[in-house]
Amino acid sequence: MATTTSRAPASPDPEEQELDTEIASIRAEIQNLQKRKRILTSSLLTTDPIQKLLRKQRQPQAQTTQASPTDPLEAISPLIHAAGAHKSSNHHRIAFGATAFPFKDPSPTAPAGTLLGVRIDVCARNGRFAKPYYILLQQERSRASSGGSTKMLKVYRHTVPGFISIAKLEGVYLPRPRLSHSNQDGDRDGSGSSGEDDADPAKPWKKSGSSTRKQDLRGFVRELRRELVAWHMRAEAVEFLREKLGLISEGGGSLPFDVSPDRDTGIVSLAAVSLETRYVRVEWVDGRVGRFKLSNTGVVERAVVIGDDGRDKKIEDAMTGGGGRVETVLDRLRVDVLSGSLSP
C-alpha cells in the first residue's frame, strides 16, 4: 500500500509523458491551423473580386423581389458586409494613419454624450503596425463671450506615452476660453506652430481673452502623430544600430552582457538612455563613454565623448558631421575612417 502511494506521484510513466507532450503539440497545431483558416477565410471575403461579385449578384435580387430566406448568398451577406466595412476602415488606417470613431462611455454617471475617439496608427520598421494610439475627446458646450454656445473639445482619456505632453499640445491646439490653469496645463505653452495656417500667434495662456483661437483638431492630431512617429523612428534607428553592431541576437532579444566589441568601431555597447530614446549612450572598448542626442528627424544633434584624457573632439565631430544621419553614424565612427582622416 505504502509503496503504491509513494510511487504514483513520483515518476509517471515515461511513455505516458511522451503521449501527453504529443497530444499537447497536436492541440497547439490544431489551434494554429484554425487561426490560419480564419485569417484565410476573412481575407478571402475581403478580396476585391469576391466583394464585387457578391454585390453584383445581390443588387438585382434586391431590386426584383425579396430573396428567399434559404438563399445562401443572403445568409452570408452580413459577413460580407462586415468584411467589406472592415477592409475599408483598414485601408483608411493604413493610408491616413489617423481615423476617428465614436465611443460611448459605459459609466452611468459620465457626462452625457458620446466621446470622439481618434485612433493613430504608426507603421514600424518591420512592416508591422505598432499598437494603435487612442485619444478620446470629450465635447463640452462652452458659453463663449461672443454669444451662443460652441462645442469645445477636451482630451478626456488617451494612451499616449507619458513623455509626450498631451497637456502642452492641448494648450496650443485645443484652447478653451475658460481654461483654468492647473499646473499641469501650464508647462510652457508655446504659441503658433511650425507651418501653421493660423496667421495670428494666439495666446492660449490668456484666460478668456478676446482673441481666443479656434480649436484645431486636425493640427492637434497631426502634431501628435508626428511626435509619435518620430519616437518610433528614433527607437528603430537605435535598434538598427544595435543590429548592425551585433548586439541583438537572432531571436530579437538582447545578448548577455559580455559581448565582444565591434571590430570596426570598437563599440561594446549602444543603448537608448530611456524609453523616450532622445539620448543614446555609447561605450567603447577602451573605456571611452559617449552620449548623443537624436532629433526628431533622425539627425545626431549633439554628441559628447569622454575618454581618459578629456573629451574626444574627433569622435564627436565624426558623429555630428557628414549630414549627421543616425543610420550612418557607425560608418563615420569606423577606426580606419577616423585614422585615415588623421594621417594626411
Partner: protein
C-alpha cells in the same frame, strides 16, 4: 570610551560610502536576513566583482596581521586571497543549504570588519527588487513652474516632449546634497532597478553633523530613517516611500528643530524638486492621489506607458484589446481580446512595459465561455464594458487600498437637479475604505457574482481614475480634493 584619532568636526559632507557598521550589530543581521539565500550570494558576488572589490574589500589574512590578534577561535578563518573568497561563495552556490550559513559567512567571516553603508544600501535595494510590494509608495507629479510665461512666445514650440527633467545621477545627488546638507546628514545610493524601468535613490538620514556619528550602530539599520525615491524612466512622475503629508506644499515652519525622522523625511522630500531644477527651469512636486504598495501598479497607473491616461472602461484602449493592426483581415469583433493583446507586440516600448513578464502567462480566466444563462451573459458583457481589461487577469494593477469620500446629499441621487447649494451645512460625509490585495479586482469579482450591479455602479468603482484616494460627488471624482 577612547576618543577617535581624528578630530570630530561638524561638516556638510555626506556620509561616506565606506562608513562601516560593526558586523556584530544585531539589527544588521536582521536586515540582511530578510534577503533570500540566492540574493545574499548574488550580493556577495557583486561585492567581490573586479570592479567593486576596491569598495568592498573582504577580510583577508593580511588584515589579521595588522590588527590585534585576540580572537583566534573564530568559526571562519580568514582567506589568503580574494580568489579564495570567491571560491567559498561559488561552493556555497553549488550546494544547497540554509540562508543562515551564507549570512553568517558574510557577517562573521569575510566582512567581519563591518558592512559599509553602501553594502547595506545595495542589500536593501536587492530586497526591493525581490519584493516590489514591500513598501507603500506615493506617486507625485513633477511639473514646471513657469514664471515667465509671456516670454515663451519667442520660443518655437517644436518641442512637445513633456516636462521630464533630464537627470544625471551624480549631478542630481550633488544638488540634493547641497539642499539637504545644512539640515541633515545623509547617505545616498543610486541604482537602476534590475527588474523594473525605475531608478532608485535610497537616502539614509541622520541628524548629526559629524562625519562619523557617535550614535549607536543600530541607527544605521533603522528603516524609518531611510527614504526611497524612485524615478520612472521618461515620465514626469516621482514615487516616494514617504507617506504624503497633508500640508507638504505649505512652507515648512522654520522654527521646528529637525530631530524626528518625520521632519527629516519632509526636508528631503521638499528638496527633491529643488535639486531637479535648474536655472530657468523650476520644478515642483504635487500629489496625484495615488498610493499603492505595489511598484508595478504605480508604473501602470502613473508611468511612461499607455495605461497612465486610460483606465477602467478605457483600459481596452490602453491594451489595444478591441481592434487589431490595420493589416489584420479579420473583423475585429471576431477576435478575442487576448489575441489582440498578444498580436501587437512590435511597439518599441513593449519589452519594457511588460517587465514582470506577465504577458507570457496572460491567460484568460474570466473569459472562458461555458453554458450561460442569458442573464449572466448580459452581466458579463456589462462587466467587460465597465472594467475593460482592468481587474481581470489580463492586466493586473492591484490597488491595496482605496479611500473614497462621498459628498452626495441624502436622496440626491434621485433628484439630480437641486444640489446647486452644496454649501449647506448638513452635508453628510461618507467615507469608504476598501483594503485588500486587489481592490478593483475584488469589485469586479463582486460584480461577476451579481452582488454589485455592473451597469449602475459609479465609475470610481472600476478604477477609472487610477487613484487610491478620491472625493466623489454624483458619481464623479472631483479634481480638487476637498
Amino acid at each position: 570610551m577612547a576618543r577617535p584619532k581624528t578630530v570630530r568636526a561638524p561638516t556638510t559632507a555626506s556620509l561616506p560610502n565606506n562608513l562601516r557598521i560593526p558586523s556584530s550589530t544585531p539589527s544588521l543581521t536582521k536586515s540582511l536576513g530578510k534577503l533570500s539565500r540566492q540574493a545574499l550570494l548574488d550580493l556577495a558576488f557583486t561585492w567581490l566583482d573586479n570592479r567593486n572589490i576596491a569598495s568592498f574589500p573582504p577580510y583577508l589574512q593580511t588584515d589579521e596581521q595588522d590588527g590585534p590578534d585576540d580572537d583566534e577561535a573564530l568559526a571562519y578563518p580568514a582567506e589568503k586571497t580574494i580568489e579564495e573568497v570567491r571560491q567559498v561563495y561559488e561552493d556555497l552556490q553549488d550546494r544547497k543549504g540554509a540562508k543562515r550559513e551564507v549570512l553568517e559567512r558574510i557577517l562573521e567571516g569575510d566582512w567581519r570588519h563591518g558592512i559599509t553603508l553602501r553594502q547595506l544600501a545595495m542589500a536593501d535595494l536587492r530586497y526591493m527588487d525581490d519584493h516590489p510590494a514591500s513598501l507603500r509608495w506615493t506617486a507625485l507629479e513633477l511639473s514646471r513652474i513657469d514664471t515667465k510665461r509671456k516670454k515663451s512666445k519667442e520660443l518655437p514650440p517644436t518641442d512637445w516632449s513633456s516636462s521630464v527633467p533630464r537627470m544625471q545621477a551624480a549631478t542630481f545627488v550633488q544638488a540634493l546634497q547641497r539642499e539637504i546638507s545644512p539640515l541633515v546628514k545623509a547617505h545616498y545610493h543610486l541604482a537602476h532597478s534590475a527588474t523594473l524601468p525605475l531608478t532608485f535613490l535610497r537616502i539614509f538620514v541622520v541628524d548629526s553633523p559629524y562625519q562619523s556619528p557617535r550614535q549607536a550602530a543600530e541607527i544605521f539599520t533603522d528603516s524609518s530613517r531611510v527614504i526611497y525615491v524612485a524615478f520612472p524612466d521618461s515620465c514626469p512622475y516621482v514615487y516616494t516611500s514617504i507617506a504624503a503629508s497633508t500640508g507638504s506644499k505649505s512652507t515648512p515652519s522654520t522654527s521646528s528643530v529637525a530631530t524626528d525622522t518625520r521632519t527629516l523625511q519632509r526636508l528631503v522630500r521638499d528638496s527633491i524638486p529643488k535639486a531637479l531644477s535648474r536655472p530657468q527651469e523650476r520644478f515642483s512636486l504635487h500629489a496625484t492621489s495615488l498610493a499603492a504598495k505595489n511598484l508595478p501598479t504605480l508604473l501602470t497607473l502613473r508611468g511612461p506607458g499607455r495605461s497612465t491616461g486610460s483606465n477602467g472602461a478605457f483600459s481596452i484602449f490602453a491594451d489595444a484589446a478591441i481592434e487589431g493592426s490595420p493589416l489584420d483581415p479579420r473583423p475585429s469583433n471576431t477576435v478575442s481580446p487576448e489575441e489582440h493583446i498578444q498580436a501587437s507586440h512590435s511597439g518599441p516600448a513593449d519589452g519594457k512595459e511588460n517587465t514582470n513578464g506577465s504577458a507570457a502567462k496572460r491567460k484568460s480566466s474570466g473569459m472562458d465561455t461555458g453554458p450561460l444563462s442569458p442573464d449572466s451573459k448580459k452581466r458579463r458583457l456589462a462587466i467587460h464594458s465597465r472594467f475593460g481589461t482592468l481587474g481581470s487577469s489580463l492586466a493586473p494593477a492591484p490597488l491595496d487600498r482605496l479611500d473614497i469620500r462621498l459628498l452626495d446629499k441624502l436622496g440626491s441621487s434621485e433628484e439630480q437637479d437641486d444640489d446647486v447649494d452644496d454649501s449647506s451645512s448638513t452635508l453628510p460625509a461618507v467615507s469608504l475604505t476598501f483594503a485588500g490585495s486587489d481592490v478593483i479586482g475584488g469589485i469586479r469579482k463582486l460584480a461577476e457574482l451579481g452582488i454589485v450591479d455592473p451597469e449602475r455602479m459609479p465609475s470610481w468603482m472600476t478604477g477609472e481614475g487610477g487613484v487610491s484616494v478620491a472625493t466623489v460627488r454624483m458619481g464623479q471624482r472631483l479634481q480638487r480634493d476637498i
